[in-house]
Amino acid sequence: MSSAAYTRTTAEPAWILPSRGRVGMFSLIGAECAIFTIFVVAYIFYIGKSVAGPTPRDVLELPIFSTICLLSSSLTIHLAVGALRRASMSAFGLWWFVTMALGTIFLVSTGREWHHLIYDKGLTVSTNLFGTTYYSLVGLHAFHVTVGLLLIALAMIFTLFGKVEPEHSERAEVFSLYWHFVDVVWVIVFTVVYVIGR
């Protein structure tokens, strides 16, 4: 490095801009927040407005176990990203797999809940307003979990083939922002659907 270039770098402060991955993901999360807000508003607006049964109190049970699974997956993905940054690949693979397993448990229990509601309780989208808003809101969230799980599974496959390197830690971190967002949305959906709405 020549001395001229050296003086130039010391004379001007370093030009640091925010990471575009993080900014892009935060923007996307902003858009998703707006979508969920509309669905949550519709759910709250229609609480108790159904003209026919069944009501939430008749059919809904608190999904405590799956909620614990989903929320703890936020912690495990955080640990996974931390492990990737430290370049401890086995720890990354382990935590990433646990995250995937926890997310899958959540999705399976949502599926079981829906099966129970549809076949045992006779509640579908077209039954009443509760059915319409419930399946829409919970379904929209489950759709986001599914998209997240597909991406996690893709990264898991790459990990198994040894294609994931510590320099990918920022991408994993950007993805973890999305996963945290999905978890936060579940806290709101849980509160609205299973606590306030029941």
């Binding site: 270039a5 130039r8 001007e12 030009w15 801009l17 925010p18 990471s19 575009r20 900014v23 892009g24 923007s27 996307l28 902003g30 858009a31 998703e32 927040c33 707006a34 979508i35 969920f36 807000t37 509309i38 669905f39 519709a42 607006f45 229609y46 407005k49 159904s50 003209v51 026919a52 989208v125 077209s126 009443n128 307003l129 319409t132 808003t133 829409s136 929209l140």
Partner: protein, 557 residues
């Protein structure tokens, strides 16, 4: 890094076969090509939706006219509104943003080039879906062709019972697809502007166009998403038998109105803020002065961005709200006029004492200033609940929002076209034809939309396909229709000018306007990599600093 040298490729005529060149355009992720694709796509729909407007105006030229049937009139009305908003003005603004933002902030591309291509093709696919309804809307029922529910598609018109066939489905899916594209574009704008600026370009030194598009990006992600959500609900209602907007099962038609207008009003500002951005770039250059009140312009834009999310129910005064609701929305509607007024004063302050050059871009900007002011004033009239109760749903409203969209946004857009045409094509447009376009269009505009207010005040409702003679509406409708033909003639001159200048125009050179922002420092049209060397800026007018080293701007900022 700054000492890297790049061999400049000589720009010559592209000798490759046409198929290969077209393939380049289809698979491109380059922001300039995608920008031009957006613009061409939008120009096509400008002509299509313009023809739909002409059909409506011919139908209304005399009472009891039989040019088209009421059913066709409803389709024309719906398609004209939907196309102009979603497939003309929005794509054209995204096109200019996509083309100009990286050039203006000294970057080589957008933050996410592939997302950029995805956004464009989603938007294009949306437009295709909407127009496919003319063929496919029949469905298996053999009922309905193009959507005919109006551009805001109030429930229960969209319910299966009132809208059989697939016409409304095409409308919903088209807006869903293009909405996804718009959200992608919004995310890309924000990430590009925040993360791709060249060294030295702090937020306070960005060109106003970049600042205003940053605000637009934020508004897009927060206001298009509610529309997307509402369209998903409508799909659930229509396909899965849901009851969101089904009043017989306890659903609410008013909820759709709220959801639509939570999108609908910020949308107006999504359309107009990029127009502000064009004017903020063009007026200083043709007044030979830096923009007056740069920080205030930024602050006013951000204020507009925030307030625009709290004014939506002024579209619903006649639906019926509590007096508190009415008062709140009257207050916010009047409040948003304050930052908008500040902007008008700043542009006037920029022109004040400047050496004004009345080239075509500047003519359009002056037209914008005058017309946007009047549009704002009728907006305040309509934003006042008692006045709104009298005139809501009349031609006065139609005249008002066309004053905003045509008199404001489209005039600024034409200004932008003429201003950046030399940069995009490498050739100058024809100044005489440009002036013909301006005068034909402004005469047509005022004939149409000035006189459209009057039948509104006389009680003519919007969206009627014909009317009774003897109510004093005939002469005004005649004038309005004649004006529409003047506008069409202006557009024709514009298209001829674009095509003619593309082949025969004078070579423009890098900087035909002696302008100050970075896009004029590179060749016209810019090379694939935009800048051979990443520029370093020290002020808001980097090219001024370059041309006037004895008196640079950075000494004073």
């Amino acid at each position: 890094m700054s000492s890297e040298t790049i061999a400049l490729s000589t720009v010559g005529p592209d000798a490759r076969p046409i198929g290969e060149r077209l393939h380049d355009w289809i698979v491109t992720v380059d922001h300039k090509k995608l920008g031009i694709l957006y613009i061409l796509y939008a120009l096509f729909f400008l002509v299509v939706a313009g023809i739909e407007a002409i059909i409506m105006r011919i139908q209304l030229i005399v009472p009891h006219n039989h040019f088209v049937s009421p059913q066709i009139f409803n389709r024309m009305m719906t398609m004209h509104g939907t196309t102009m908003i979603f497939f003309m003005v929005m794509p054209i603004l995204f096109g200019f943003g996509t083309y100009l933002i990286p050039l203006m902030i000294g970057a080589r591309d957008m933050a996410f080039p592939r997302l950029n291509a995805f956004s464009f093709w989603m938007t294009a696919f949306g437009g295709l879906l909407l127009y496919f309804s003319f063929i496919g809307g029949n469905g298996l029922y053999g009922a309905g062709t193009a959507p005919d529910v109006g551009w805001w598609a109030y429930a229960p018109l969209t319910a299966r019972a009132f809208s059989p066939g697939h016409s409304t489905d095409f409308w919903t899916l088209a807006l869903l697809a293009s909405g996804v594209g718009s959200i992608g574009a919004g995310v890309n704008f924000i990430a590009t502007i925040l993360c791709m600026r060249c060294p030295g370009m702090t937020l306070g030194k960005m060109p106003l166009l970049a600042w205003l598009n940053l605000v637009v990006g934020g508004m897009v992600i927060f206001c298009i998403s509610p529309l997307t959500a509402a369209q998903i609900m409508l799909c659930i209602d229509r396909y899965l038998g849901g009851h969101f907007f089904d009043t017989q099962a306890g659903g609410s038609a008013v909820l759709w109105m709220h959801f639509f207008w939570i999108f609908g009003h910020p949308e107006v500002y999504i359309l107009v803020v990029p127009a502000f951005a064009f004017v903020s770039e063009i007026v200083p250059v043709f007044s030979r002065k830096p923009i007056f009140g740069y920080p205030i312009m930024v602050a006013a834009t951000i204020a507009i961005g925030f307030i625009s999310f709290s004014v939506w129910a002024h579209h619903m005064f006649t639906v019926g709200m509590s007096s508190y609701g009415n008062s709140f929305f009257v207050f916010t509607t009047v409040a948003i006029a304050v930052p908008t007024g500040i902007k008008i004063f700043n542009w006037l302050g920029t022109m004040w004492g400047g050496k004004i050059q009345l080239r075509v871009p500047m003519l359009f900007c002056i037209g914008f200033l005058f017309q946007f002011l009047i549009a704002g004033l009728t907006g305040i009239m309509l934003g006042t609940a008692p006045f709104n109760w009298q005139l809501s749903g009349s031609y006065f409203v139609v005249a008002h929002f066309h004053y905003v969209i045509v008199g404001g946004i489209v005039f600024a857009l034409f200004g932008a076209f003429y201003y950046w045409y030399p940069k995009m094509s490498g050739r100058m447009y024809n100044e005489t034809l440009g002036k013909w376009h301006f005068w034909l269009f402004i005469i047509g505009f005022h004939l149409t939309f000035d006189f459209m207010h009057i039948p509104g005040i006389l009680g003519m409702p919007r969206r009627i396909y014909t009317y009774e003679p003897g109510r004093g509406w005939e002469i005004w409708n005649l004038i309005v229709t004649i004006g529409a033909f003047f506008q069409a003639a202006g557009i024709l001159v514009f298209v001829v000018n674009l095509l003619w200048s593309l082949r025969k125009g004078e070579p423009a050179g890098n900087d035909p306007w002696d302008a100050w922002t970075l896009e004029w420092s590179t060749s016209s049209p810019p090379p694939d990599y935009d800048f051979a060397v990443t520029p370093v800026v020290r002020s808001r007018r980097p090219l001024w600093d370059l041309k006037h080293p004895e008196d640079p701007d950075w000494k004073y900022e």
